[in-house]
């Protein structure tokens, strides 16, 4: 009898638990969820925002293995906040929106200049968002950017979103800006966040009449000379002070940013050829040592010394040249040094005087100069950054060309 009672009791508990947890497992089943791949935020004509959600239609990825481009579906809704937008979209789609595979959050320039802290905090409050999702500030509308993000060399748009920030490793023209980093830098007193700069890529570009050597390195998104099948591009960075957009960095400045924050792995620069006028050399530089940064406080203003180390290989080779001559290589190295020094200096003074935003995280190097947190807070790094002095030294060694050493 006791045995039966025990059995019935155990069975009751199991059934009770199954019923109690039924709410969770019914609602989260994989069949009932729609996975958002990208979110876009625009300003709408009324007071609220225009949210765009990009989904992927998965039926074309069936097992037959044919390489079909999967179409993406972009739906828009106008609402006052992300929560109400998701609510409205849920009622339209039927399936429940799940943000755990959202790779990109696109914010238009207009919205960014008004302040985006509310959106960022709301998104990070959600358990589903990945901290490694990228933030893009687009110069066109976010809706246009998302609609024109079509995969060219891949099948799935998510694959493109996964790897497009990877190009910063070898070009230096963009950076990997994730929402997790953005949130950390928003909260940090001494640094300011950045986001990837995106824009339109249209086929009718009017080429300027004189292409100087700086043309390719001073481009930003929306203005590049690339023409291709995809209508969106990402070059440069958007600079924020606190949570408002204050400026943009072009390709060369973005390169400087990557070097200051030790994220650069290799990049091309174009310098004037010392042997002939009107001709240019492409050098592929890669950092050999991490950037050395040291800070001193003189007369209340920070004095920041930056030293970078590079090694380079000559990429563009011309006829009738000798590329293994020590003196010539030294001359090329000196030109590289001065080019990079002026580029980095210009960039640093731009962040300090024009943007007044410490996006290079120099504030954390200043922490060691103070003994207690109160002292550091009283110093107010953000206020004093705009009076900073910079001393940039570059030590680069151009070693050789690649396969051809003499022509």
């Amino acid at each position: 009898m006791k045995y039966t009672f025990k059995r019935i009791f155990v069975l009751t508990i199991i059934v009770l638990l199954l019923v109690a947890f039924s709410g969770s497992y019914k609602s989260l089943s994989i069949d009932k969820l729609a996975y958002v791949v990208a979110i876009g935020i625009d300003k709408s004509s009324s007071q609220g925002y225009n949210f765009s959600f990009q989904f992927t239609n998965v039926t074309s990825n069936s097992e037959s293995g044919t390489a079909e481009k999967s179409p993406s579906i972009v739906n828009n809704v106008e609402a006052n906040s992300i929560g109400s937008a998701i609510n409205l979209m849920n009622s339209y789609i039927g399936k429940r929106i799940n943000l755990s595979h959202c790779k990109v959050i696109v914010i238009s320039e207009e919205v960014a200049s008004e302040g985006i802290s509310k959106h960022i905090y709301t998104l990070m409050n959600d358990t589903q968002i990945r901290p490694s999702a990228n933030i893009v500030v687009s110069k066109c509308t976010a809706k246009y950017y998302i609609q024109n993000s079509k995969p060219i060399l891949e099948n799935l748009i998510t694959k493109y979103y996964d790897i497009f920030d990877y190009s910063s490793n070898f070009t230096g023209y963009s950076s990997d800006a994730t929402i997790g980093d953005f949130l950390n830098k928003l909260e940090c007193d001494t640094c300011n966040p950045v986001a990837i700069l995106g824009g339109m890529n249209t086929e009718n570009i009017s080429y300027p009449t004189d292409i100087t050597e700086n043309q390719s390195s001073s481009v930003k998104a929306n203005e590049s000379t690339i023409s291709g099948k995809r209508g969106s591009e990402n070059i440069g960075l958007a600079v924020f002070r606190d949570d408002k957009l204050v400026g943009e960095l072009n390709a060369l400045e973005c390169l400087s940013y990557l070097n200051m924050t030790n994220k650069a792995k290799g990049f091309f620069i174009t310098i004037p050829d010392p042997e002939s006028e009107n001709s240019y050399l492409d050098i592929y530089m890669s950092p050999t040592n991490p950037t050395k940064i040291s800070i001193k406080i003189t007369n209340g203003s920070p004095y920041i010394k930056v030293k970078c180390y590079f090694s380079g290989r000559i990429y563009s080779v011309d006829s009738n040249r000798q590329y293994l001559d020590e003196k010539k290589l030294e001359a090329i190295s000196d030109i590289c040094d001065s080019y990079l020094e002026s580029a980095f200096s210009d960039y640093l003074y731009k962040t300090s005087k024009e943007f007044k935003a410490d996006i290079n995280e120099f504030g954390k190097y200043a922490l060691s100069l103070f003994l207690t947190t109160n002292d550091f807070n009283n110093y107010n790094w953000n206020e004093n950054y705009k009076n900073a002095f910079f001393d940039v030294k570059i030590d680069s060694i151009v070693e050789s060309s690649i396969l051809l050493t003499e022509t």
Partner: protein, 361 residues
């Protein structure tokens, strides 16, 4: 065997369960809020102090042979005092484990089970721990021996996997909030070493009583090392001057791990390991509470009492009205409670008993 025995490694791992379970919740963040960027310095300082205190406890126990603190309090104040001390310790064990259980279940409910009432999550944990307790005294210790190394490895894994996003400069300014803040007020961080509460009750159960000193020193040092790891993860990843409070900082740190593009968001796997270590902590805390009760009341068979203690745990964990109240208990009241009972009350009983013994000699 009338009394089951605990080996040396098992004893050390019992003391470590507490720190692992508490550090998943808000412990590292509380430490950092109190001592800011000097937390690592402060933890080293406190580990030294706690090792000395642990050695003091062992020395004070030496004269009494295989007795635990209940026998000593009986020697000090008679049977009534023994019951009072036993009741206080039972209350402390049950309330501390119930509060942590409530907070952990709230966090789990927020992340995964938003539609389930929280009592069912608590019920699952308590059922698991009751089944394990009914099977025997040594069972949960052996399971602990299997689970806890995996939990320790998981924290080391989070540390190593996040290494590339560490900012070592966040350890400056070296004195944090100042000398007084770090070393005087920072002494309150000693509540992190609440694992030492088991030191009062394990002497009768030890297989090798001469290793008692080694157990206490080893557990204090291992707790300190583990705390340094946890605190460094949170200090170096998240911004230094904490303005945002998260519900489980280590969980948020685990979300940042990514290996390439295919292995991301591994925090659910860590959650499973932490669930295992948490239920292990709950089982051991309940077991020791039951054994104290058995000693106080001389009950022979404790199988049915286990169910009662399980229900008591559920009742205490359902007491706070919502997450705000239970978080308040955990962050503000819990640390003072631990310090008062473990370090003030326990050590003073031992000192008074030693004085009485010396007078009688």
């Amino acid at each position: 065997m009338s009394r089951s025995k605990i080996g040396t490694t098992e004893a050390v791992l019992i003391i470590l369960t507490v720190i692992i379970s508490h550090s998943i919740l808000s412990l590292p963040r509380d430490l950092i809020v109190r001592t800011k960027s000097a937390t690592i310095l402060n933890i080293i300082f406190i580990t030294i102090i706690c090792t000395i205190l642990a050695l003091l406890i062992v020395k004070l126990f030496k004269k009494f042979g295989n007795a635990d603190i209940l026998d000593i309090s009986e020697y000090l104040g008679g049977k009534l005092f023994k019951q009072i001390v036993g009741a206080i310790f039972i209350f402390y064990y049950m309330v501390s484990s119930a509060i942590l259980l409530r907070n952990f279940c709230e966090a789990l409910g927020l992340v995964y089970f938003q539609m389930t009432p929280i009592i069912f999550l608590i019920l699952l944990f308590v059922i698991g721990s009751c089944i394990s307790n009914r099977l025997g005294f040594n069972v949960s210790l052996k399971v602990n021996l299997l689970i806890l190394p995996i939990a320790l490895v998981s924290i080391v894994f989070i540390f190593i996997a996040n290494f590339k996003s560490f900012d070592i400069q966040k350890i400056f300014p070296i004195l944090g909030g100042g000398f007084k803040d770090t070393f005087v007020t920072g002494l309150l961080n000693i509540s992190a070493f609440e694992g030492l509460k088991y030191l009062y009750f394990i002497p009768p159960y030890l297989k090798e009583p001469e290793k008692y000193k080694k157990i206490s020193v080893l557990s204090a040092i291992l707790t300190g090392t583990y705390l340094i790891l946890c605190v460094s993860i949170i200090l170096f990843i998240f911004p230094s001057f904490f303005t945002t409070n998260e519900i489980m900082p280590l969980y948020s740190a685990a979300r940042y791990i990514s290996f390439g593009n295919f292995l991301q968001r591994l925090e659910s796997i860590f959650m499973m390991v932490w669930i295992l270590s948490f239920i292990s902590y709950l089982t051991i805390a309940t077991k020791f509470a039951i054994s104290i009760f058995q000693k106080m009341t001389n009950i022979k068979n404790t199988k049915e009492i286990i169910n009662v203690f399980g229900l008591l745990t559920i009742a205490i964990s359902m007491f706070p009205k919502n997450l705000a109240v239970s978080t308040f208990w955990e962050t503000k009241i819990y640390s003072y409670f631990s310090i008062a009972i473990i370090f003030v009350f326990g050590i003073s009983i031992l000192i008074l008993a030693n004085i009485k013994k010396r007078k009688n000699l």
